[in-house]
């Protein structure tokens, strides 16, 4: 059992106890503990269950690479699944629960999968798709869905806030070990702007644990001095608890800062995502120790040798009284010595190498520790915890030569540089035979916009595993970065270290090398996804030769840890099975983020009220105060209707239509796009933009126009007012203003760059009100105006400007309702006051604000099309009977050639008609006109569809518009439209103008 030692632990503060709970059990740790070290200190070695077989699992590592000890942390609005206990700092009140177990961590019925493991081999999941076919849907999928997944998805809204931060630096250094610190010192001395980030709360990485001395000082002291020196540099910033998560094109780097995870009581955002532009990136991300593949290497108590050492040195935690160390290299002897130094027992060091020399093994021997050379572990004994190991010769098949009782096994298969950040943006790797790992190849570095390298690996991340070489490499990385930036690095000496002489490691991919199938089925490669040596070998036998295919077939490296421990062991196993060299097999692709980052940090500030920018007109407060029901129109929220107390939306809409037709309606039309088009060539430009002739429009007059894209499809419509000889004001649809403005600039900048035309988007400069109805002129005259608003002075489709009620007004005699109508634009700052005074003055006329639905009904009664209803990106003006708005005289306009294509001129294209149900009901929106029979796919044939459909309160019946085959030639014919609930409804084809076809009401 694991426990807290009486003394030691360089990171914990024994005077500051921290209360926390695990699966509801109250436990105590110390400030400075991680959740993992605190659980171990409390004797809790069992920390989770594996994904597939629900095997009992304990913590394996002490850092970001941990695959097993995943927890749900927090509760309700702060609950987060799949958090690594090894990177979760302990705080008072922390609540953790283990995952993937039922009914309890100790007793899990899913472990039955374990006994059935031979029926769940590699690719089991894919095989279930294949045979027998119905079994997937009815048998496997329900079972797989039930048992899959580790953490639970949070059910509550995230209670925290997140943010982004944009930083621009010359040199970004990822990793705050001694390499990162040394690189920052050297880079900082050049005057470059440097940002150094470290994912943990502590600086210096492994050096203090490994007993490194630098410049004659203990590592801790050197680290503190280095930090102080860096903090004294104006041009250097250092951030702990900040992980560089990804490197992208053009020196873009994401870093993930965890601000309050360790102290939830603090103010401010929980996470901050740094979006960094770095001219040079130095990856000083260290290395990760590899497990060894021996039978039973997943039993709780089997851990990485470096992790066992970390728990003793950093947190004063013993993982067991007796620890057997198993290794293929000298570094693991440091663990044996650390345990020995802490007064714990190391019954044996099992070294796979035939001969073991070197300083560290000699120290171990001198300390009286038994060293077994040429040996391996045949099998770990125990179920939920280690009880012992049986020893064998590494060269053999696993016959037990000895059995040693122990509570823990510290394993080391060598070290793999953390090459993730190097690889994200295309950095290539080379296989280092001596150290049996992939390391960055500086001759094939990630390159920037100039084709030159912008990422440099330094320290252990570059494959330099001794502290002396690490520091030299870091210095070199910083000097290389400085050179790339055109700065001269002062020739700083590399600090001296006390490294012992280490002898070569020896690659061991299977222990013992001749292990049979039964043993290989118990050798775990990927702990989290339960992938074993036998699975990878099976994949190879089944023909999966590519490492990427094997990965997906076996799920090796596909868990939340993304194969940090399993990657190299897995591909070495695959290489062995394929009888190929490891570099020929290659690695899978390293993709960001390095470890999972919160979705909240990605969203940043974009949640709640500021999830997206909602656009507000100058009258928006009035609408909201009035209880308007709002609907989205682009990013605007326009009143759909203004329901009075006790009124349904439908009733409100009908009241608004009738009030407008009978007296006076007021519409906030501020959202309409208003684009100024000005210049000597403006007329020519307008003629190209619109299907009809705009250059002939007289100043002071308005004209309705259609705008098509180059494929001929109707894109936008609206009224154009000619301001003067060189100036037009283009009105667009509410949702189309930005797009139309972009469309104009696109053509002006890319195609007609020599035309003298400017555009200015004035949409928001003006508040615009449609004053509509038989009393509209009266209310304006009542407000008082220096404009003659009479029919003679300001006829239909004319505009003018002047003062109305003291407001600076531009008045357009245009109508989208068929009523006498004035659309009046005032500066936005005057909009609210103008709107208020219209309501005040309109009281005697029952002035009624109306919303978009009343607008829609009134335009449909008049047969006016609506972009987005009658059009859907496949409709051309000719389909809508708008040939009157297409100039025959013009040589060209955008869309003209496209509209001459054979399909566009096909007489069988569906055409716009009005539709009147025989029974007066409202046609379902989008209903199809049935044509009888079925097509080749067995679907019913159709001959048209409904594009707009409403109940017309004016006419007291349902009215609709639709596109119908040969529609305009079939006036009076009755056709059937399908209904949502089955059955059909009969409708007569009529003219689309239902109301006041002569336009008598608007022309007064």
């Amino acid at each position: 059992m694991s426990t807290r030692l009486a003394s030691g632990g360089r990171l914990i503060d024994r005077s500051a106890a921290r209360e926390f709970s695990f699966n509801g059990k109250r436990l105590t740790g110390y400030a400075g503990d991680t959740l993992a070290s605190a659980l171990l200190a409390n004797g809790q070695t069992l920390m989770g269950r594996s994904f597939k077989y629900h095997r009992p699992r304990g913590v394996v590592a002490s850092g970001a690479e941990e695959p097993n000890a995943l927890m749900g942390i927090g509760k309700d609005g702060t609950f987060e699944p799949n958090q690594r206990a090894t990177t979760t700092e302990l705080f008072n009140g922390l609540e953790a629960e283990s995952q993937n177990h039922w009914p309890s961590l100790d007793f899990d019925v899913g472990v039955v999968n374990n006994s059935l493991a031979k029926f769940f081999p590699a690719g089991f999941y894919y095989k279930t798709f294949m045979f027998p076919r119905p079994a997937w849907k009815h048998v496997f999928e329900p079972i797989v869905r039930q048992s899959a997944g580790l953490g639970k998805a949070p059910k509550d809204r995230d209670a925290d806030r997140y943010e982004h931060f944009y930083a621009f630096v010359d040199v970004m250094i990822a990793g705050g070990g001694i390499a990162g610190l040394q690189a920052a010192l050297t880079a900082g001395a050049t005057g470059a702007r440097v940002l150094l980030v470290e994912q943990t709360a502590h600086w210096g990485g492994r050096a203090p644990v490994d007993g490194v001395e630098i410049d004659g000082k203990p590592a801790d002291e050197w680290i503190n001095d280095a930090l102080q020196a860096l903090e004294g540099m104006e041009n250097v910033s250092v951030r702990s608890r900040t992980m560089a998560s990804g490197v992208y094109d053009h020196g873009y780097v994401l870093a993930y800062e965890r601000l309050t995870d360790h102290a939830p009581e603090m103010d401010g955002p929980r996470h901050r995502l740094w979006r960094i532009r770095a001219r040079q990136v130095i990856t000083a991300t260290g290395a990760i120790e590899r497990p060894l593949s021996f039978a039973g290497n997943d039993i709780p108590g089997v851990m990485l040798a470096s992790a066992v050492r970390d728990y003793v040195v950093n947190w004063g935690v013993s993982v067991g009284d007796r620890t057997v160390v198993v290794t293929n290299n000298d570094d693991a002897y440091r663990t044996a010595l650390a345990l020995h130094g802490a007064g714990l027992s190391v019954p044996a060091i099992v070294d796979a190498r035939a001969t073991v020399t070197g300083d560290l093994p000699e120290q171990a021997r001198a300390a009286g520790i038994r060293v077994l050379s040429g040996a391996g572990i045949a099998m770990v004994k125990g179920k939920k915890s280690v009880t012992g190991v049986s020893i064998c010769t590494q060269a053999g098949e696993g016959a037990s030569t000895d059995e040693i009782a122990c509570e823990a096994v510290a394993m080391s298969g060598g070290w793999s540089p953390v090459v993730h950040l190097w690889s994200h943006c295309g950095g290539k790797l080379i296989w280092d035979e001596d150290q049996a790992h992939f390391r960055p190849d500086p001759s094939r570095a990630p390159t920037g916009h100039d084709g030159k390298p912008f990422v440099i690996a330094g320290g252990a991340a570059f494959g330099e595993l001794s502290s002396a070489a690490t520091l030299a490499s870091a210095n070199h990385a910083a000097a290389t970065a400085a050179e790339a930036l055109g700065l001269s690095a002062p020739a700083g000496d590399t600090p001296a270290t006390n490294d012992p002489a280490e002898t070569a490691m020896e690659p061991v991919w299977i222990m013992p090398q001749g292990a049979g199938h039964a043993k290989r089925m118990k050798m775990w490669l990927d702990y989290q996804n339960d992938v074993k040596v036998s699975d990878v070998q099976l994949a190879a036998r089944e023909g999966y030769e590519s490492v990427e295919h094997t990965k997906r077939y076996t799920t090796l490296g596909m868990a939340t840890d993304q194969g940090k421990l399993s990657n190299i062991n897995g591909l070495a196993t695959l290489a062995g099975a394929l009888n190929d060299a490891i570099p020929n097999v290659g690695t899978t692709t390293f993709r960001p983020p390095y470890t999972p980052i919160s979705l909240g940090s990605i969203a940043g500030e974009a949640r709640g009220e500021v999830f997206q920018p909602l656009r507000r007109t100058p009258m928006q407060d009035w609408h909201e105060d009035r209880g308007a029901y709002l609907e989205p129109v682009g990013h605007w929220r326009r009143p759909y209707c203004y329901p009075a107390a006790g009124e349904s939306h439908e009733q409100a809409v009908h009241r608004e239509v009738l009030a407008t037709r009978n007296s006076l309606g007021l519409l906030d039309a501020s959202t309409l796009g208003k684009i100024l088009v000005k210049g000597p060539d403006a007329g020519q430009f307008m003629d190209m933009l619109y299907t009809n002739m705009m250059s002939s429009l007289k100043p002071g007059r308005c004209r309705y126009g259609l705008m098509c894209n180059e494929n001929g499809f109707l894109m936008d419509d609206g009224v154009v007012a000619r301001i003067d000889e060189e100036t037009f004001l283009v009105h667009t649809t509410s949702g189309g203003a930005e797009h139309v403005h972009g469309h104009m600039e696109d053509w002006l900048q890319c195609e007609w760059w020599d035309w003298k035309v400017h555009t200015v988007n004035l949409t928001e400069q003006f508040a615009q009100v449609a004053v509509v109805g038989p009393n509209s002129r009266k209310v304006l005259e009542k407000l008082g105006s220096d404009i003659d608003l009479s029919k003679e002075a300001l006829p239909f489709m004319a505009w003018t400007e002047g003062k109305i009620g003291g407001f600076d007004a531009r008045v357009f005699r245009i109508s989208f309702s068929g009523e006498l109508s004035f659309e009046i634009a005032v500066p936005a700052s005057q909009g609210r006051a103008f709107w208020d005074s219209l309501h005040d003055a309109g009281g005697e006329f029952d002035a009624t604000p109306y919303g978009t639905e009343a607008l829609h009904i009134m335009r449909a009664e008049k047969g006016f099309i609506m972009i987005g209803d009658e059009t859907d990106g496949t409709v051309i003006p000719q389909d809508l009977g708008l040939t009157w708005a297409i100039s025959k005289k013009k040589e060209d306009y955008l869309g003209k050639r496209a509209q001459a294509r054979s399909h566009m001129t096909d007489p069988t294209r569906w055409k716009l008609v009005g539709l009147e149900t025989v029974d007066g009901s409202v046609l379902p929106d989008g209903a199809y006109a049935v044509a009888g029979g079925t097509n080749a796919n067995g679907q019913g044939n159709v001959q048209g569809r409904v594009t707009s459909t409403y109940h017309s309160p004016t006419l007291g019946r349902g009215i609709a518009m639709g596109l119908v085959l040969n529609g305009p030639d079939r006036m009076g014919e009755v056709i059937e439209f399908n209904k949502v609930d089955g059955g059909t409804v009969a409708a007569k084809i009529v003219d689309p103008v239902f109301f006041d076809p002569e336009g008598e009401k608007q022309n007064v």
């Binding site: 806030r161 909602l614 400017h758 200015v760």
Partner: protein, 187 residues
């Protein structure tokens, strides 16, 4: 008749202060910025020279900001804008140039305090480090999801403009970014 800005001078107090700046006159001028007539029109209207790329020049009661290779933003008092537009349009009548009053199409914000730069750097992908962004610099950029322009209007004060319709959104994100306890501490 009352004229009001989008948020009527809303303020969020804190170590970093966010304030809607009320009504300001803003004029878009599009034309050839190298043209002698354009330069003269700007000088006559504001007393200021045409600024260089990404620059803003500020006088006693006007500013001129570079917006694009053929566009300037001229900032004057709100009630001066119509007159200035008319005068410049007159001066440039024979020139291929466009002058438009955009005062009410915009909202102005001021963010002030020792951490003002950092608050804005949470929203705008701009290098706001004091070594890179000093007085006289102008950036057209975005604040989170909306277009904006930023310049330094005091030692510890940034001015920002955005479209009027999104003023409430911009105030919301500035208030969050400037909240006490959310300081980054890097500049």
């Amino acid at each position: 008749m009352s004229e009001v800005s989008a948020l009527m001078g809303a303020v969020a107090e804190g170590r970093t202060r966010v304030e809607e700046g009320g009504l300001v006159g803003m004029i878009t001028l599009r034309g050839d910025l190298d043209s002698a007539r354009v330069k003269a029109a700007v000088k006559d209207a504001t007393g200021l020279d045409v600024p260089g790329q990404r620059q803003v020049v500020t006088g006693d009661d006007a500013s001129v900001a570079w917006m694009s290779p053929d566009e300037l933003l001229i900032v004057v008092a709100h009630d001066q804008a119509p007159g200035t537009v008319a005068a410049m349009a007159q001066a440039l009548a024979d020139e291929f140039a466009t002058v438009a009053n955009v005062s009410d199409a915009r909202a102005l914000f001021r963010v002030s305090g020792p951490s003002a730069r950092e608050a804005v750097a949470k929203l705008a992908p701009v290098d706001l480090h004091p070594a890179s962004f000093g007085a006289g610099e102008m950036r057209r950029t975005r604040l989170a999801q909306v277009p904006a322009a930023i310049w330094l209007s005091g030692d510890d004060e940034l001015s920002l403009i955005c479209f009027r319709s999104v003023a409430k959104y911009v105030f919301g994100i500035l208030e969050l970014s400037a909240a006490d306890g959310a300081e980054v501490g890097i500049f």
